[in-house]
Every structure is written in C-alpha cells, then in structure tokens.
C-alpha cells in the first residue's frame, strides 16, 4: 500500500521511517490532548487540536495526498481525471483530460486491497471498544456536569476521537507494510563467465 510519497515534507520510503512517523504522529496527538486537558485548554491549543484533524488527511487513504494510496475505487477514478469517476477513459471537462494526481500512485493490486481490508478490520476491532467507552461515559457526564462543562469536555474528546477514525487504518498500513526487496538484477546484466 506504500506509494513513493511523503507525509507533508517527510519522505517515508523505509519501514523504520514509516514506523517513526506513526509513533511521532500519535505521540504528538496524545501530548496535545493531555496538554489541552491539563491546562484547561487555552484557545490556541484547541485550534491545534482541530488542525490535527486536517493533518490526519495528509496520511492518505481518504485523500490523494499522503503516503497511503487512495482506499476508495470511486475516489481513484475521480482522481484520475475522468468524468466524476464514471468513466476513466473520458476526460474531465474542467481538467481537459489532465490528471489530478500521478496515475502510478492510483494503481492498486490484490495485495493492496487485502492490506487495506485487513487494516480496516484491525482498526475497527480497536475502535469498537473505544466507541463503547465513549458512548457509555458521555451521557453520564451530560447530567453530572452542566451543559457548559459538558460542551467543554466534548470539544476536548471529539477531535482526538475523530482523528483516530481518520488515521488508524492508515497507521496500521504504514506500520505493517514491509520494505520492498530490491529487484534481482536481470540475467543479461549478470557478469558472463
């Protein structure tokens, strides 16, 4: 599922760099959430939390920008310059046939689809219990705290939660995808005895 792209300005070609990106990303998110909670959320930290939601889109998967390839077939067809994703052979009237992204980054094979579905299964199995905890505790807090305090708490919880939904499958793909072995040299390139 790896494509030769980078997260913002960081290239993530090797597995170690991809894992470092995942650790740094979630470390940043946890540190930011803890800071907002501990310091009662100064306004600029709240803005930073909302900015993290936008940054999650740059991991790819649900957008064409990022190290993970587009998940959705419809999105891939839309991004290849066709007419609203209907027919890949017809040029988009506004783009006059120009591709919005490089076609090599849109191609997926069976292995990519398998990795995508597997990552979503693992992410779902994790997020299911996070949703259960969130849903059971949130209504209790509504009536224990006042509406103002509840709105404050919800604003703190909602955005990290949203980031998890937007980024966890991509993080699993980045973490588990192995490095590609270099191609074996062609027979003609080998030294002849």
């Amino acid at each position: 599922m790896k494509s030769p792209r980078a997260f913002l300005f960081l290239t993530v070609e090797t597995q170690s760099r991809r894992r470092a990106l995942v650790v740094a990303w979630y470390g940043f998110l946890i540190a930011l959430s803890v800071a907002v909670v501990l310091w009662r959320g100064p306004s600029y930290l709240d803005k930073l939390l909302q900015f993290a939601v936008i940054c999650a889109l740059f991991l790819g998967g649900i957008t064409a920008a990022g190290p993970v390839r587009l998940f959705s077939r419809w999105q891939r067809k839309f991004a290849d310059g066709s007419v609203y994703g209907i027919d890949g052979n017809r040029p988009h009237p506004w783009l006059a046939g120009r591709r919005t992204v490089d076609l090599d980054r849109l191609r997926v094979d069976e292995h990519d689809l398998h990795a995508r579905d597997r990552a979503h299964y693992l992410a779902y199995a994790t997020l299911r219990w996070a949703v259960v905890l969130f849903s059971l505790f949130a209504p209790l807090v509504i009536y224990a705290a006042g509406p103002g305090a509840f709105a404050r708490l919800l604003s703190l919880l909602c955005f990290p939660f949203c980031v998890l939904f937007l980024s966890l499958p991509q993080a699993i793909i980045l973490w588990t995808e192995p490095d590609l072995e270099p191609d074996a040299p062609a027979a003609s390139a080998l030294p002849q005895p």
């Binding site: 939601v53 779902y124 997020l127 949703v131 259960v132 949130a138 709105a151 604003s155 949203c162």
Partner: protein
C-alpha cells in the same frame, strides 16, 4: 461467514436487518425523549416512555445472541476465535445461563473467502462510521461556536447512534450482502422418472 444456524434466505436476512434498525431507532427515540423531557415523569408513564425503551435499546445493542460477530451464537459467525471462546467460558455468561447452548459449529472464519468477506465488510463499515464521526465532530464544533442549548441532547443521541453502528454495522453488511447458499444437487434425491416408476 453466516452462522450454521442461519438457514434463512437473503430476503429474510434483509428483513431482519431492517426490523433490527427500525426497532433500535424507535427505542432510541423513546429513550432520548425521556432523557430530554421526561425526567420528571414517574411511575408507569416514566417506565413506559423512558426506562423500558432504554433497557430494550441497551439489550438490542449489547445482547450477544442477536446479530453475532462479536459473540458466538448470533446470525453471523464470530469474527475472531477469541470472541467465540468468550461466549462459552465467560463467568458472567455461565452465571446468568445466557449461553446454555453450545455453539460448537460457530467456528471463527477459517478459509480465505470468509476472512476476505469479513475484512471487506469492516472496510465498508468503517468508511460509513468515519463519515458519521466526522459529521458528529462538525456538529459539536458548530454547536460549541453557536453556544447552542441543544448540544447535550444531540450529542447523547449521536453517541448512541455511533455506538449502535459500531457494534452492528459489519454484521448488517454481511447479512445484507451474503448470497443464498446453493444446495448441493448431488445431495438431493433424484427425481422419480416415469421409467423407474412401478
């Protein structure tokens, strides 16, 4: 991917999914209405409009034996062997005699096709839930900016909608999309012919 006990056709399975979500929606609305407006109601009116629908909603959402997937014994096989063992051996289920039936045939997906179908259903489900979560975050953000008084009620409803979707959507997708099993023609008795009739 369907359980061995699920002998119904795809049409029947789709009806079950529709009835399940309609019942969940109805009970959820009753419980939500009670939480918002009916806290002062007591006695039978409070029980009928609030507690009872809330209890049914929780049972529909968390009951192990309905749609399956995260427990053995439902319409869908357990997604993981771990979930299947939990249904047999958990002390609470043994204590309350919930899982008296042995679900020995409810094995977790074993072949490639089952695993692929399970993963694909989770991909579709997470694609939907991702949109719901994003929408919920936008609504909360807008409500906080507007200082809307309806935020607690809508947030509670959104949380429960997210909970129900998270617990049941992959199972519903599997029940909706799995084709009917074609019976093995060799297993059926050969039809009687005129020449073989006495």
């Amino acid at each position: 991917m369907l359980s061995e006990q699920t002998h119904c056709s795809r049409t029947a399975r789709r009806r079950i999914v529709v009835i399940y979500y309609a019942a969940t929606l109805a009970f959820g609305y009753c419980a939500w209405d009670f939480l918002l407006h009916g806290m002062a109601r007591t006695g039978w009116s409070g029980f009928v409009t609030g507690f009872f629908p809330g209890f049914l909603l929780a049972w529909l959402t968390l009951s192990p034996g309905l749609l399956g997937g995260i427990h053995a014994g439902g319409l869908v096989r357990p997604f993981s062997p771990r979930y299947g063992r939990t249904a047999y051996n958990a002390p609470l289920t043994e204590l309350f005699l919930v899982a008296r039936r042995r679900h020995d045939d409810d094995a977790a997906p074993a072949d490639e096709r089952d695993i692929a179908v399970r993963d694909r259903a989770h991909y579709l489900a997470l694609s939907v839930i991702r949109l719901v979560a994003l929408l919920l975050a936008l609504v909360v953000w807008a409500a906080i900016l507007l200082r809307a008084h309806w935020l607690p009620g809508v947030a509670a409803l959104g949380c429960y909608a997210l909970l129900i979707l998270a617990m049941t959507l992959p199972q519903a997708i599997l029940l909706w999309t799995e084709p009917d099993l074609i019976s093995d023609p060799e297993a059926e008795p050969a039809p009687a012919t005129l020449s073989s009739a006495p």
